[in-house]
Amino acid sequence: MAAKNSEKLKTSENDLNMSIKLKSQIKADLILKNPLITASGTCGNGKALADFYDINQLGAFTTKGITVEAQPGNQSPRIAETAAGIINSIGLENPGIDNFIKKVLPETKNYSLPILANISGYSQADFLTLASKLEKRKELAGIEVNLSCPNIKGGGMVFGTAPEKVYQITKKVREIYSGYIIVKLTPNITDITETALAAEKGGADAVAMINTLSAMKIDIDQQKPVLANTFGGLSGPAVKPVAVKMVYQSYKKLSIPILGLGGVSSGRDVIEFMLAGAAAVEIGTINMIEPTAGLRIIAEIKEYLIKHQIKNLSTIIGAAH
């Protein structure tokens, strides 16, 4: 196709503009060189992935979810495979905010791409503690407030399904934290546009959708759940159609940018989310299967832009409406 039309081609790889400006409601915008952001928890804190390629080629990097105290995470098994998907119940294993600041953040200084810290809490107070400890951390471009982790008991999920709670936490975090704020939403809800609007009203700069779908798998020979934690979160290609729908459904209702995620595995998937209305896209599960997926996906986006003679990637945002 590309070859056949090559005489007519005007836009070549050098002309392409893949950069994305993520607008802020009141603070500074976040500029990404391309729309690819790593999804929290699927890329560690960068080091392991950096063994495979220069991750500075990505748009931004999101760290593994951090809580106030160190967490050992859930018992094993923590992962189960399903049709075109996986269920995880890692349970937010992390060294706690103080160790994160002391040990993890300094390592991110080697990277030139924007770093986002993903934070999770067991109470409203937790989120405020985390936000205040991260305020003014120069290493960070912003924070992703995870109001949607399904793997901690009585925790994130409860906030994430009540619009008032989402509004309150976002508002309080906004008062404390001056960098870019992304609120990450759960899909385990009747109408995600309600929590998305609550986040916007609370002052979020952007929302990220979706976190994982609540799910489980049973070992039929042992007649018990595969995951030690019984339930976990479904991610990967299987959930993409649900995620794209939620982005599409939210796009016209929101005035802040949407980060789309859930099953992105190819450049085609990135384009699909952007056409639905995502300003940028996070890549999660695919990194676990193909560590260099980010590079391939960037190349595939370029191919698409050249094939369709689109110079500015950002012009396709919401174009399927």
Binding site: L49, G73, S76, E81, I90, P237, N287, I289
Partner: protein
């Protein structure tokens, strides 16, 4: 790029997979593993890779071997892979067995498919003439492994739970039966129960050693924390079986939760 040279049943539901590679970024060490993609072409199911330990490696022939048991969908599909097909592998991955044990009294204990990584280890330790103890459920499962260890010219003993070989019982029974002289270093790979029992014995008797643990893995490269093992020192300080393991020093990680 890996090409299938052979993929044949060498025991009941046990397959030997022989691959030819173009180049590897690193020479695999005993105890390390590769993560194999199962789905072909653009299929997204099965999604995850499958970890398999290096069974044998020959640098000059660019040959890499695995031995695996068919237990589920992934290994069933792998078993149908034909000679000539290309496979997508990531590796070598993980922390290998330590080899600086020359001229000591070494024991290798393998139970079930835990025998697979011990062959390449035994090859590397051959000069030290380690004693090898292997156990499986049935005699048929041991046949292939026996022929390989015999060929190496090492002293080995065999046990099967269902039939009497050197003894009738597990690899643990076999090892304990033969434990007259205290070894300097013990390598063990196999079911969690075997690892725990051997470790307990070694810690009690002050025998140093290493075990290779088998954890469900998401990525195999250290990014997802699916394979975390609690360390004995600090319950909040975990180690990843795919990076800090699968080979751990005896007493390093909590086995029950593993």
């Amino acid at each position: 790029m890996f090409r299938v040279i052979a993929n044949k049943e060498v025991g009941p539901n046990i397959f030997q997979l022989v691959l030819k590679f173009d180049n590897l970024k690193q020479v695999p060490q005993p105890g390390q593993f590769f993560n194999l993609k199962i789905s072909q072409n653009e299929s997204l199911d099965p999604l995850l890779r499958r970890p398999l330990s290096v069974f044998d490696f020959e640098a000059t022939e660019k040959r890499l071997e695995f031995v695996y048991r068919v237990v589920g969908k992934g290994t069933r599909i792998l078993a149908r892979t034909k000679v000539g097909n290309k496979l997508d592998l990531i590796g070598p991955l993980g922390n290998p067995f330590s080899l600086a044990q020359k001229d000591k009294e070494l024991n290798l204990i393998g139970g079930g498919m835990g025998i697979a990584p011990l062959y390449y280890l035994a090859k590397k330790l051959k000069a030290s003439q380690p004693k090898v103890y292997l156990g499986t459920a049935s005699k048929a499962e041991l046949k292939f492994f026996e022929s390989k260890f015999k060929h190496l010219g090492l002293e080995y003993q065999l046990a099967a739970v269902e039939e009497k070989l050197d003894i009738k019982g597990t690899a643990l029974d076999l090892w304990l039966t033969n434990l007259q002289k205290k070894p300097d270093f013990v390598y063990c790979c196999g079911p969690e129960k075997l690892l725990a029992a051997v470790e307990k014995h070694c810690l009690e008797k002050n025998i140093a050693g290493e075990i290779s643990v088998e954890k469900r893995m998401g990525c195999g490269i250290g990014v997802c924390l699916s394979c975390s093992c609690q360390t004995k020192l600090d319950e909040n300080k975990n180690k990843r079986a795919c990076v800090e393991g699968p080979v751990f020093a005896m007493g390093e990680v909590v086995l029950s939760g593993c």
